[in-house]
Symmetry: C4
Subunit: 238 residues, 4 copies
Amino acid sequence: MIRLRRSQAVAGLTTGRITAFSDGVFSIAITLLVLNLHVPTVPGKLLDQLRTQWPSLLSYLLSFVIVGIYWVAHHNMFHYIKRSDRPFLWINILLLMCVAFIPFPAGLLGQYSGQRISLITYASSLILTNLMLSLLWWYATSNHRLVDQDIDPHFVRTVNRRNMTAPVVYLVSIGLSFLSPLASLIVFFLFPLYYIIPSHIDLHLTPTSRTKEEPKEHEDSTGEDSSITGGEGEEDIS
Amino acid sequence: MIRLRRSQAVAGLTTGRITAFSDGVFSIAITLLVLNLHVPTVPGKLLDQLRTQWPSLLSYLLSFVIVGIYWVAHHNMFHYIKRSDRPFLWINILLLMCVAFIPFPAGLLGQYSGQRISLITYASSLILTNLMLSLLWWYATSNHRLVDQDIDPHFVRTVNRRNMTAPVVYLVSIGLSFLSPLASLIVFFLFPLYYIIPSHIDLHLTPTSRTKEEPKEHEDSTGEDSSITGGEGEEDIS
Amino acid sequence: MIRLRRSQAVAGLTTGRITAFSDGVFSIAITLLVLNLHVPTVPGKLLDQLRTQWPSLLSYLLSFVIVGIYWVAHHNMFHYIKRSDRPFLWINILLLMCVAFIPFPAGLLGQYSGQRISLITYASSLILTNLMLSLLWWYATSNHRLVDQDIDPHFVRTVNRRNMTAPVVYLVSIGLSFLSPLASLIVFFLFPLYYIIPSHIDLHLTPTSRTKEEPKEHEDSTGEDSSITGGEGEEDIS
Amino acid sequence: MIRLRRSQAVAGLTTGRITAFSDGVFSIAITLLVLNLHVPTVPGKLLDQLRTQWPSLLSYLLSFVIVGIYWVAHHNMFHYIKRSDRPFLWINILLLMCVAFIPFPAGLLGQYSGQRISLITYASSLILTNLMLSLLWWYATSNHRLVDQDIDPHFVRTVNRRNMTAPVVYLVSIGLSFLSPLASLIVFFLFPLYYIIPSHIDLHLTPTSRTKEEPKEHEDSTGEDSSITGGEGEEDIS
């Protein structure tokens, strides 16, 4: 009676709707980070009490930047991912589960920044998030499952490798925490620069196939999508 | 003086706007779940204190997946629901009331996972949410009230039946909790797989009428709607 | 040098963007209501502790419905409001300030439902919200400032009157609270039905001018707007 | 192998998507402000306990308006910013980090409104936010980096100057707090009017080049963008 059409079963959940829901979770998780800073309620000199919160403030700054990096990476991926299917949908939900979890280890790191267990929890949480991000990209790109056929294979491998850098670095920082919690913390704060500094990211994230002469065609092919979020590129808006 | 035009009275509240508001509530409720995990504030060995929170962590994982399932189901339904009226609008608000409530029983389950009362509260909360979801679909589809005339009746019944599976299973788990809270918990964790594993969902959610040859026509008929969320199907985007 | 173009000064803040921001605040405020329910943390019989929370549960239900009513009213208004200017923008921000405040009196009502002061705080908060909603509609419609010229004057007055019903009723309920807090509470729970039950709302919210023969024209005139949120009416989507 | 195309490296992060994410953070931060008001949990006369919260209520009102001002300014800027690049993206994320932080100093100001340290923390937080807003505008407009070539240079300078007014005023209020905390508070409450009262804002925010005769052309040039958020101006919608 019922014919199987697996690829269309989640037709209602297009990449556009997945992105909108994901953006919601990203923006809420990043804003909830501030709840880890507490207005002192016990009596005492206010300045002294605020001073005890500077590790929480540093954790806020660090975690905000890290969730920001994940959001940028997620969006850059969805720029190339054109389709969706059920496994992909659930890998993305598991990724969001990791992202929405970050306020907890962030609070832990702020409250107990000198203790190894909070460093390990924080690093583990980020490792899991990165593995999910890697899985999402690997699943979408292997056999061109959810991306265009003409995507540059070198580019796909480069993103795969970049995604796997963070888990390795955070594993090292866990090892470091047994020697010196401070050294581990320094890794936490320096490593995000790897994803923020332009030259690196641009080198890896720009596919060979997208030359100066053809962006117009590319934009046209995703024209339907671009009308949702306000235009995909400079060409559409200006 | 005033002519009654009931069907248009809530013309400003189209399915597109209802979906946007619903997505907001879904993404906030799912992200608030992490607030049930508490950074220890009383003195004591940190690792021991974190160990006492693993039930809360499990409750986070479970509840995140369950809200995710509701979001997927909600969106799949709205793929077929083309119109809105006032009763439908308020059934949807009641459904959101149930979804936004889930962080409370989720926190209860994490804190008191061994106590029957928290198992019953959690199951009851999910039963209510599923009943609202069932009511929403039943209201929209009976007499083709808010769906297209050519929707497959077999498909409508299948979704109705699937929606009613969860209340029955959660009722059974409430019964089980009187024999063994652990058995009840196992049902909680295994049952979501029924909605996640592809084969099952695809079998039920794909209407007979949507054959391989005609998706283009279908997409066209909802072209207005698809332009909002970035394209309804693979055909639109790729 | 600089020519004054007041009407365009906030051109970047169109009704579409104001609606998107407002929807965000509405959906967050409505979801934060659940934080007024507390998982018991002190030792004691769990069932007994949960029983003490049923006023908080009732306050959750009531406040969720009330914020829902405001969201519906806000959207219905923005269906007719076509332009924006700076005073309108700030009246709307003040309205959102009232809406975002509701979780506080809602928590108070749940915790101290028998005390007059919490009833008065709750009612006052709703009175303020309704006055802002009235001001928003009055400002937009007087002299057809931000609405179309052909809007039915009878319809405008009807909405004005409906907006002012709630402040009067809540003032009465404040008076009642001095005689009997319970009577005041009953008014709280019964009055929202006035805004939910279809016949009333449809009678008032449907302008005379929108007859069965001409909706197509109306929809066309707002075609630009409808493409954002997924179609304004049934005609657009089906 | 890989050709560098820096300008397109973050092609997936258009101004439309950045705005959507930013709106999320703005609307969540502004709604979280209410969590600084606490339902009394210790025994005592309820009215007396609520009276102690009026500074928190004033801080809520003030901070809601201030975040509202930032949101309006952010949107007005993005009305002119047509492109995005990686440094701009990260300046915006740092700005959001400042905005999302505001609930903490707002809570501090409410709880300890008489103490200089909370006044300084609040003012410093706003200074940082304004500096980020200034940096964002300066980066986007210098050398017409991310704006159109025909943007009025006088207008660009005027916005630059307006953006730098707040840091100066808040620095003065920090100085004042050493003489009189109350005087400092009065500055906090009066200064936002500078950004709200129409005449000032309109004078500065309206570029000379946008005359009454040419808005149509302007709207057309951003037609792609306007279709997302519901139309840019009155012309599009009416």
